[in-house]
């Protein structure tokens, strides 16, 4: 039987050698093809499933150096934000991310673009924008008051910033090359922004080294809002018995009625309303050991256009002062006891139309053990407006169980003042550029934070088709040595789509 089988195979082989060879080649080719297919089938996806983040925050601040009122006055502000970030795997290699959100604030400082509204003085349309529709209600002499220390009900006191950003990222088969492109749109009451950009990331050295290059362009436009008195002055060509000024008494430093107030050089609304920003970013990341890795970031940012805020007043030391309101409160003008007199602006802030900013950041993370990690960050920043800054932060994630992690943190910040900054009534009117915005002053700031995270790697809890992956809660207290104090609470939920 065995002999017959061998003979039979030999006969088949002799007779069909050509066919067998063809079958063998076909099978080998099929096997190769199958191997290639299996590689494709089992290629790990960049993002396994759709990820959805719901983020929200509350921010509140108070201080005594409001830029809108020339470097003095209440800085009280509250802001509530919410955003949804949806990352969708388009295939094994590509991810589409849509990020949309809003930020709604109420600001005592911003409301004082029109400080006279606390007396209901500015009529029905008090937006103080470029339109010529600012009308005046009926006012009696002495009725019109204002104060840098009191929030007004002006239209600029509340605003909603909305934002949409769409990003598309593609990873190569070996995951060593990633490119992305994004577009963004943002809108608020006095500002419109269009942005687009792209980047390329390369991984080397068994993915131990990462190099990145990206760029971003923002083409922004102001819809400027001006201090009410300056806009009104421009509207009536300086006639202080007309428009907003009709029936309003302007007084000098001694409290005597006058019509001699005149903004610096007379006031004209701004011509160029564009603000373009061009940013190029370099990044380098390196794994140092099984427990440590660092990254280095450097941005070169060029900004051109109207780089000041048209709503922010400036008062000069060498220009006479004029007020609207209760003359007896003038001696207490810089004190928060002043509730009923407001100083008319000499001008809005003027800043160069170019700015070059170069921040260099360094991040080092160290995995101490299963419970504790260290997240450190340092940034040195300098620009051609004279600001030099140091930022250092430390966050220590502490895992207290397999689901809960605590996040104590501290951040230090300092900066030198911009060349164009001076406090209230300290600028000389002979200078070309000037601002009393304390965000551009010299200061140091300390920020203390604490947070907690809940993570469920199985995403067991469900809302509709979304499995809850994590919840993050953060609190931060921010204190600036200029007197600004802020509190921040952030809350985020991350879901995975089933």
């Amino acid at each position: 039987m065995e002999v017959n089988l061998v003979v039979a195979v030999a006969v088949i082989n002799r007779n069909n050698m050509k066919n067998v060879l063809l079958i063998f080649i076909a099978m080998w080719t099929a096997q190769l093809s199958a191997q290639q297919d299996s590689t494709l089938v089992y290629k790990k996806r960049v993002l396994e499933t759709t990820e959805v983040d719901f983020l929200t925050s509350y921010y509140g601040q108070d201080g005594k150096n409001a830029a809108v009122t020339g470097g003095i006055g209440t800085e009280k502000l509250t802001d509530i934000t919410a955003a949804i970030v949806v990352s969708i795997p388009m295939n094994e290699d590509d991810v589409l991310t849509v990020d949309a959100g809003f930020s709604a604030y109420t600001s005592a400082s911003s409301s004082n673009g029109n400080p006279f509204d606390i007396s209901g003085a500015s009529g029905n349309d008090d937006d103080d924008d470029d339109d010529d529709d600012d009308r005046v209600g009926q006012k009696a002499i002495g009725d019109v008051i204002g104060s840098p220390w009191v929030a007004s009900s002006g239209a600029s006191g509340a605003d909603v910033w909305t934002n949409v950003n769409v990003d598309y990222a593609h990873s190569s088969d070996d995951r060593n090359t990633i490119w992305n492109a994004d577009i963004s749109f943002a809108n608020e009451y006095d500002y419109l922004s269009l942005g687009f950009g792209g980047g390329l990331t390369k991984l080397y050295n068994e993915k131990n080294t990462t190099l990145g290059l990206s760029s971003k362009v923002y083409l922004d436009t102001w819809r400027p809002i001006y201090p009410t008195e300056l806009k009104a002055y421009d509207d009536v060509n300086g006639n202080q018995n007309d428009g907003f000024f009709e029936g309003v008494t302007i007084v000098d430093q001694q409290g005597n009625a006058t019509v001699n107030w005149r903004p610096l050089n007379g006031f004209e609304t701004i011509e160029g309303k564009g603000r373009n920003s061009y940013a190029v970013s370099f990044s380098f990341a390196q794994i140092l050991s099984k427990n440590a890795q660092f990254s280095l970031f450097m941005d070169v940012v060029k900004q051109q256009g109207w780089l000041g805020n048209p709503m922010q007043r400036v008062y000069f030391s060498d220009v006479a002062n004029f007020y609207i309101g209760n003359a007896s409160s003038i001696p207490n003008y810089t004190s928060s006891v002043n509730k009923d007199v407001f100083q008319l602006a000499d001008d809005i802030e003027r800043l160069p139309s170019d700015r070059l900013k170069i921040p260099i950041g360094f991040r080092l993370n160290y995995f101490v053990n299963e419970r504790i990690s260290l997240r450190t960050y340092y940034r040195y920043y300098f620009d051609d407006w004279g600001i030099k800054s140091n930022t250092a932060s430390l966050e220590i994630p502490i895992k207290i169980s397999d689901k809960f992690t605590l996040y104590p943190s501290y951040r230090y910040y300092d900066q030198t003042k911009a060349d164009y900054f001076a406090p209230y009534e300290a600028h000389s009117s002979t200078r070309k550029f000037y601002t009393s915005d304390y965000d551009l002053s010299a200061f140091t700031a300390n920020q203390y934070g604490f947070g907690v995270s809940y993570t469920d790697i199985f995403s067991a809890a469900h809302v509709w088709k979304l499995g809850l992956k994590s919840i993050d809660l953060r609190y931060n207290n921010y204190q600036r040595n200029t007197g600004l104090n802020a509190n921040y609470v952030g809350l985020g939920f991350t879901f995975l789509m089933d």
């Binding site: 983020l55 925050s57 921010y59 955003a83 930020s103 963004s184 943002a186 500002y191 922004s193 942005g195 050295n205 068994e206 131990n208 971003k216 362009v217 603000r275 920003s277 940013a279 970013s281 380098f284 990341a285 390196q286 794994i287 050991s289 099984k290 660092f294 990254s295 970031f297 941005d299 940012v301 900004q303 805020n309 070059l356 900013k357 170069i358 921040p359 260099i360 950041g361 990690s373 997240r375 940034r379 920043y381 300098f382 620009d383 407006w385 600001i387 800054s389 994630p397 992690t405 910040y413 900066q415 911009a418 965000d439 551009l440 947070g451 993050d472 931060n476 921010y478 921040y488 952030g490």
Partner: protein
């Protein structure tokens, strides 16, 4: 062309003025690199921990946003470096 030359000179001047700080960063970088040994994929368990990510976390984005508004400096954190808002 004139603007490009001017900008390039401006960048060079700024870098020269801040050379000491930049040198420290480069030195740290070189020292770090000289001690590097490639870590294999299967050895990256600790590095893959979510708390080890070398970027700002999503939950911190609004915190960074208010810092961008309240401070003269911005950027170099993988996020916004200027533009997109009426801030600094």
């Amino acid at each position: 062309m004139k603007t490009t030359v001017f900008t390039s000179r401006l960048i060079l001047n700024l870098i020269q003025q801040n050379m000491s700080k930049i040198s420290i960063v480069i030195l740290v970088l070189l020292v770090s690199l000289s001690s590097c040994v490639a870590v294999k994929e299967y050895e990256k368990v600790n590095l893959s921990d979510p708390d080890m990510v070398l970027a700002q976390k999503k939950i911190d984005r609004f915190k960074t946003a208010f810092q961008v508004y309240r401070e003269g400096a911005s950027g170099a954190n993988g996020g916004k470096s200027g533009g997109g808002c009426g801030c600094n």
